[in-house]
Symmetry: D2
Subunit: 455 residues, 4 copies
């Protein structure tokens, strides 16, 4: 029995999310990223003339990868401060740089800036996976653009749509979600070098009140991190408003995929469309005949988890005090990684379901025929109005006839699903295709990442 089986381990890491996403939120990756930020700080301070030598920076760079998390734990037990513990362990590996490490910085400098990198990478990963999901949706929606099927409002039969149209509606929501990630990343500004309470006072001292240099350091560090500029103003940390926006992006993906999962579950009920099902897969330990939409149901449950997690960010922001209160820390440590891991799992599940979607055209036709008379009545109402009838009187007549079961209609000349097919083609041509083209690189990256593992 491995030790990890003796304590709780999050099924997100073990069961649902991809190893790549899980690694982004590992202790190892955090430690490395923190060291990277310390190195950037020291090196940029050196360039701006502070008494830091190239040798010292080199010492840090050499030590970056020799991470000993046990040693960190020992320090933390004593100091009860995780950044200080990592700093001590880092300094031990690069004693030459010890005197100048973390110069002018506060813990939030390390944690917030490291998060800027980790969260960006995680968002880029989600964005790439959405690209894959959108690519499958694109292909499937074109394939089924004209396949007419019963529409459902109130989950009661309603005027027909096409399967492609349904897929396109999911795509439209997810496309908006993907663009929201882009928007978020465009607006995102990392903390940079702001000091203990955001005033840059330590840097003002270090640079002898040379505001130019203070600003250049602020800019240089975030440039090294790959961002265009730092946030204008901060307290000790970035405003936790940026978490709200980020987590809401994930929650929006979750609610779009939740809607998708419900639609899949309902279509699997009617038998028209099913999710993939493994050859040896067992649907039920007691009812051997069952083929349940388990992957879709899992998505519903996982989406719920993401949506509630996101609420934490909103409350954390709402109750912050002045330059900072630490009640964000324990909460964010749980909420942010788990929201990313669960969203990652959701995207992978969506990809697998949509790739292996099973369409039963016979069942679709059967359902459609059952209600055809009713469906024709709308066209009839329109045509009679064109001929001068009163829409309102016709509506009442059809209503009464159909309740009484005496509705008689003749077949319309036009497709029951109206312009559904054309809507799909237009949407593909004008919106989805161009976006996919702009995101070919993400798409390629994602293909490699998409988990092959079973749903």
């Amino acid at each position: 029995m491995q030790s990890e089986h003796r304590h709780y381990t999050s099924p997100l890491a073990q069961r649902y999310a991809s190893p790549a996403m899980s690694h982004l939120f590992s202790e190892e990756h955090k430690a490395k990223t923190w060291r990277l930020i310390w190195i950037y700080l020291a090196d940029e301070q050196r360039k701006l003339g502070l008494p830091i030598s190239k040798t010292q920076v080199k010492a840090l760079e050499r030590a970056q990868d020799s991470i000993n998390l046990k040693r960190v734990a020992t320090w933390e037990a004593k100091l009860k401060h995780d950044v200080m513990a990592h700093l001590k362990a880092f300094a031990e590996k690069a004693p030459a740089a010890e005197p100048i490490l973390h110069l002018g910085a506060t813990s939030a400098f390390i944690t917030d800036n490291a998060e800027a990198l980790i969260h960006r990478d995680a968002l880029v990963m989600i964005h790439a996976k959405l690209a894959s999901v959108l690519k499958v949706l694109h292909d499937q929606m074109l394939k089924y653009a004209a396949l007419e099927m019963t529409g459902y409002t109130h989950f009661q039969p309603a005027q027909p749509v096409t399967l492609g149209k349904r897929l396109a509606l999911w795509a439209q929501d997810l496309l908006a979600d993907a663009q929201e990630i882009e928007h978020y990343l465009n607006l995102y500004r990392p903390l940079g070098c702001k000091g203990t309470t955001g005033t840059q006072a330590s840097f003002v001292v270090l640079f002898g009140n040379d505001r130019q240099k203070v600003q250049r350091l602020d800019l240089a560090v975030v440039r090294r991190m790959g961002f265009s500029k730092p946030v204008a103003l901060s307290g000790q940390t970035l405003s936790r408003r940026s978490d709200v926006a980020m987590l809401n992006v994930l929650a929006h993906i979750a609610s779009s995929l939740s809607k998708l999962s419900y639609d899949m579950r309902l279509m699997q009920h009617t038998g028209e469309v099913r999710e993939p099902f493994g050859k040896h897969q067992v649907g039920s330990s007691a009812m051997p005949y069952k083929q349940n939409p388990m992957a879709a149901e899992r998505m519903t449950g996982m989406a719920r988890f993401v949506i509630t997690l996101a609420h934490n960010a909103q409350w954390t922001h709402a109750v912050q005090w002045l330059e900072r209160s630490l009640d964000d820390s324990s909460n964010r440590r749980l909420v942010i990684p788990e929201a990313f891991l669960a969203t990652d799992a959701l995207c992978d599940a969506a990809f697998r379901i949509l790739s292996g979607i099973r369409v039963d055209e016979a069942a679709i036709k059967r359902h459609l025929n059952r209600y055809r008379e009713m469906f024709e009545s709308e066209a009839m109402m329109m045509e009679e109005t064109l001929k001068g009838g009163s829409r309102q009187e016709l509506h009442e007549k059809i209503r009464q006839d159909s309740v009484a079961g005496r509705l008689k209609v003749k077949e319309s000349r036009w497709p029951l699903s109206g312009a559904a097919e054309h809507q799909v083609l237009d949407f593909a041509r004008r919106e989805l295709k161009p976006w996919l083209r702009r995101n070919e690189k993400a798409l390629k990256r994602s293909k490699e990442m998409i988990q092959k593992a079973s749903v």
Copy 2:
């Protein structure tokens, strides 16, 4: 005793929100807006060649304002369908147009498109009020840009900031919120003419399968409404994803103002900054000496209400079924108006508090002096490091000295609040001022709207 005192009336309408916002969500305004949408539909159908006469359209236009909500109620009691009830009441006032009213439309055509207008107007109102709040913040933050005061992290004294800087941090969050409204409105696409299940089937019949005309009608109606184009795809309604985005915009404003309200309450505790207090105002019915931050506290409570309301939108979207499920209706009817009304009240309260903010410079100085020694220690640590000392050793020494109460430091040459003042000026110059200039019209409109009533 008026009848409205005998049943529950929302304090949002009676006590907190502005009459203007309250009117936007009144039964009267809804009825008028619905009629407007019916008129647009009929008139644009006429222009595209359907058998609708100018006389019919005129009849509708003439009847638009003669709204009799009692008559509507009578119809609704019978039909149990609110759109049909309004339609009947409208048709009675314009019998000539009765046969062609609502032609090709479904209820969601009326409700969703009317909401596009109402919600846009409500968002524009909130945006204008944010402009006013940002203008006050701009002026106050410049006024107090250099006023040094004790910083607080963990609500423990920390390196000094300036009052202007604190105000600027609030402004930075609210500026992002205001820009989010702009972003939302830019992306927003109304439903347009999509028919019962979004396929435009009824319009396809009406226009004899002329897809061009179907699209032209779709476009023309939303142009009349003042939007650039309709949504590409819909089920019976717009994807409820757009509610999620809209309500989150309001929730973001609420959480930014919640943070502001907490900061105000904490500063009122230290006595450094207070909200306005009326001459005859009673702080407590039992402790006559009290001056409580009641307006700020009210904001905290109201913000909480908005934030939880917004969760409804997310769940509604997440659990929608196929072309539409009606479980959105009763929920949105409550959630959307109340979220707007409460946000409106929040903005008004923020404006009043910030306009009348009372700053006690003596108290501020007193607090600052109390901790001055500790605050100087950071600069000392920096300066000793510049001279070759080890940052890490200095940190530990200061820590021990200060716990033991034997910390001795000399005064720094540089301001304790570092670059705070310059940060404020830079932020004003680069971000806030230009935005205010771009939004002068909104600002002007808002000034007229801002409630003069007491907090």
Copy 3:
């Protein structure tokens, strides 16, 4: 156009909730209840020897009902304190008692104690309505105890149940909810007379440090209110924990009824069971043939509203500060009434749906027969195991056969729905019936209250 049509009015009061519940949360009822509490205080203080005359108490009693809310509003505009405003208006009507009104009290004494009465009455009303709902469920579940129908897990056909069993499952949840109301009311202790910060200091002074008398006053006032004893400890207000418990009771009802509404919507889809539908009712303004489960859908949406409202109580409690922070006030003013009104509407809707439930036995049989072979396979698996077969091998064989469509089974001797009928009868006999008998008075009261109005 009435003025109330020109501003927002909550559809809860106008459209969904019962007039009786709405009146409980009216301004009028609040004012009267506040005066009642003032009278109780004065009279009990008099009895305990404070210098208050019978004449003064009589003056208050005579003035109790002459409420002028306009006058209150005038005072509030000046004092910006609602309790003080009501106090002034009351005192004006009973000038003799003016000097001793509100003696030793703080605003929370009035508001919290008045709420104890209002919330109790509201809970009793909800409890009575649940009794009615449970009575209908009881009768319907016995009627349909043996009516076999297709079971659904994952909304895929599963071993048959009976309709009565489904109704009984709803009843079991709602019975637990009703008992939770009883439990809550049993534990509830009103604030009583605790003074400004809960220390009873003012009463200690008034009674010359006679602790006995202080306690007797505390007890006497809540006895007058109909409660057995006051809370042991409070700050300025009752711990807001009691709101959490109360709102969660409502949220539990809402989630039980939400589950019920989903089941109804799904059964209406299969056509087996439908909600009532009015003769003139219009299902859709565009698809005249439609009969949608609108009442059930409305319940889903309303339940969502209640559930999110309840979260407010939890957050309000979680962020209270020391003896009291006022951020509870604006929030509770909205959340508590609306949660009650919406729950009231939910109960009425459930009653109407369940009373008029339409069961299509032919459809039920049709569905059941379609899957009968599969359903028989479970019994077969059991019987073969009894004969010595391996359960595991049989499971795998049936799984493969049924995927391949070659499943062959013979009919079981025993009912497909197992013990479902007996479970229903046992539950009725052992749990539901005894509870209904214990609550006959509530039931009777409720019958009078249940809204006759349409769904």
Copy 4:
């Protein structure tokens, strides 16, 4: 680098919760508990006469502990069904019992019944920890029952309380929480033996329609588990309503402890009461002088996490479909363990803070003296009223004098904190002490469990 550092690991298991709680939710413990349930089923079926031999049961018992989770994983990869995978792995270790394993059962029989054991043990653990917290509170509140300190309403100085009274208020909330656990466990009924859709159909077949035996099996299995009786009715699973109640119990603890944490943070601000602080502890990596209320802040953040997690249970219940939908599974797998782990961590943190609370009596006196004049005014107002003055006029006079800074009062004869001390003593004597006495065993158990590790 250990592999667990390369992927995400929940800080709940690694950093915050106790090993004992973490083990309850481990894969190992789950596997063992599942096997226990299988053994109970087989053995009780044997006793009731099904063709199961003692040898077979013995084989299962012998195999119970030889758990190979790798083997389980291999099976799950093939079958995509976790219960079936565990069943296969178990059967391989006890081949003699393979044919009769899981007889008549469905997966939910295993998972729901195993959870009954695990959740009960987890609740008992939380209950015991609350007992420890309440014991510390009891001792501290008696110690400080008479220590007068400034009261705060609106975080503005208000009539004095005592420190003991503040501690007692926390205790009163937590006592209610602990009693809620007892109430929940009293009402809790496990699933027992209900079969695939709750009808016990498989058992009806196995026992040849002998309802007595079906019921005896149902009862016998839950008796073996240590419960008094099974739930009356179920679908495939227990109604998810019981999760709602359970998670709300945890959320109530969280919100009570959140309130406590806020009070601690505010008192640490005024310097009157502080949480413990380690000798080598570093308050800030940049401001060496800082002693922040980090443990209390961590509690605030963790409580937020628990509260939002609990919402999942409510939504899961609210959206269940008919006999069962599987969207509960992935969600509960995350939500329930994490809610327990975080609550466990919260209780441990509360215990440590309260045990090591640091009270600065000088600071307390300093604050009190600062506002003494104002505080005396309430007693003065009372005494003047006793002498015949008008309470209302006195209130207005004091209000004006105190705003104008000319308030003059003489010292009251009675304690400023009124009956606070006596309230504490009464509460201890009547409520807390008796409860602690009734729970001495829990208390003892808890002492051993309470984590010695630092906050």
